[in-house]
Subunit: 335 residues, 2 copies
């Protein structure tokens, strides 16, 4: 992986340490939108590492995911080893042609569409999708948190359907959004694919687990591309338990909202203008972004800069009081 | 997953229990070629479930795999979440056209080539590959254990290269074959892709880990299809440790060879003619195959039948003395 990609994606403290070799340890990783309070991983039976994942266990996982995400049925849920791995596969389900990718957005969307052979065009509004055969967007959007209304997305899906097109909605951060925005319940129509990420909200990104929610004709094609053993035994076991743990899910939503408010207050105190975000990350816009990125890096705090907008910085949530304190101290020292 | 696929692949005791509801428990699973003496899974740090896999850790895994498999360098090793998931991706690296798939062989090979848009033709000899743009075979072959000589494969690769074609060699069971047969050292030429399975030899199929070994131009395309976080944190940690454990690897080869010899002796005692296999599975051919499959199933022993050859049964290795004893008792009672 090149240096570009290291800066481009978050989550790689190796890159942080190369860039800021003198920074105090431990490095605080605020470069991702991953929940810093992970779901407590239950003891994984040795057997789950050893044997091939059983179809019945995959089905139980799909059932738990359908319930948690509001999919019409478990038959519309395809478990996959991370949503990012499924992007080029779903991009191939649209007829080759123009792909509209909402921008600013998640870099992997355009990359996946190009990989699938589409002519990729960045568009900034749903109305600009024109005659694209494939539209990919994140809802809520990353990094600015923009939300697309269900009615607008359903209208876009209907429009795409008339010309055999496909709408891919990456709901990687939908877990922390108030109910009613997800299109998971609306996937029966046939040309809408909703992607859900397990690792971000549950704080278990290393597990590699995600879901494609789609009507059976598309869902079967996605499943076929992965073959019979897409997801690891540990991911199936941990995922099934966590997605069924409604109490933990509710409490975590509250906890993340509170943490995001705390972060907002801290950024506001320093007069860093908030552009948007979700409860898993906050985006600020300032001409001092690059200087602040350097300053925080030297203080051992790794945040996310954006090649496409030099004035942006994205902050994930600190995971403990020591991290909050170091962030506050570093921010205060900047001005 | 349909009933067909359940019988088609091994490893699903759910299917066994539906077919033989009265069988004594525990069911003994001899339907796969997975080592029944798994590598002892070390305690996986909670952090590896939580954070995104770090590029440096993926690199360490590739290095360990390059050493274990004899690849020219770690730059030629792409870690993937199971070899079966990589098959349609490598099949797409050949120009569209005829794909020759060695038969009898592993069903996923033909499925992957068809998924990638090739016209799939089953061929029984290397000489019959004709003008195919893609050739996929397993070496040693599954289920009959047939070995293809390196010189023949290199000649085929050279022939394919002249017309821009690609040779995919699935070495899923190469770990238990005497050294010198693998084409992993010969991948620098540019159009040979060697696939290695981690789960079978190390007995950790639930971990979902495999490797594509290919020259950088092809390897980069494979890596790009998976994106930056192909393999889970636990798979990276366990895989790196296991692939570096040369003592365990050597001892396991010996242990599996002895177990295979013990199984051969048992089958020979019952006059079941051995067709071939590897030290991870043995294939017998008998007109009584179907009756024996039923008889063993009713005794709680799940072996592998083949839709393409009604006279074949494949036996994996029993994992403990109780299983050996039950197998022997059931076999003796059959005649």
């Amino acid at each position: 992986m090149g240096e570009d990609q290291e800066l481009f994606h978050g989550g790689d403290l190796g890159a942080a340490r190369r860039l800021f070799p003198g920074a105090p340890e431990p490095f605080i990783d605020l470069s991702t939108g991953i929940n810093p309070y992970p779901y407590p991983v239950p003891r994984v039976a040795a057997e789950l590492f050893a044997r091939l994942p059983a179809p019945a266990d995959v089905q139980a996982l799909a059932r738990a995911a359908a319930r948690a995400y509001g999919a019409p049925s478990e038959a519309q849920v395809v478990p996959v080893p991370g949503t990012q791995i499924v992007l080029p596969i779903v991009a191939r389900l649209a007829p080759p042609g123009r792909a509209a990718v909402l921008s600013p957005g998640y870099a992997e969307h355009g990359r996946a569409a190009a990989l699938a052979g589409h002519k990729v065009e960045a568009v900034s509004r749903l109305d600009d999708c024109g005659d694209a055969a494939l539209v990919i967007l994140a809802n809520p959007n990353n990094p600015d948190g923009r939300l697309f209304a269900r009615s607008d997305l359903l209208a876009l899906a209907a429009d795409l359907r008339r010309r055999g097109g496909v709408l891919v909605i990456d709901e990687a951060f939908m877990d922390v959004t108030r109910p009613g925005w997800s299109l998971a319940p609306d996937t029966a129509g046939g040309n809408v694919i909703v992607l859900r990420s397990f690792g971000k909200f549950f704080g278990l990104a290393g597990l590699r687990l995600g879901f494609a929610i789609a009507a059976p004709p598309l869902g079967r094609k996605i499943a076929a591309a992965f073959g019979p053993w897409a997801v690891s035994g540990p991911a199936i076991a941990v995922g099934t338990q966590a997605l069924s743990d409604t109490l933990w899910i509710e409490r975590t939503c509250v906890r993340l909202d509170k943490s995001a408010q705390r972060l907002d207050a801290m950024l506001a105190d320093l007069a860093l203008p908030l552009v948007g975000g979700t409860s898993l990350f906050r985006l600020v816009q300032t001409p001092a972004a690059n200087a602040l990125f350097q300053h925080l890096g030297e203080a051992g705090i790794w945040v996310r800069a954006f090649p496409e907008n030099a004035n942006w910085l994205r902050f994930g949530l600190p995971g403990n009081e020591a991290a909050w304190k170091r962030l506050k101290t570093a921010l205060v020292a900047f001005w």
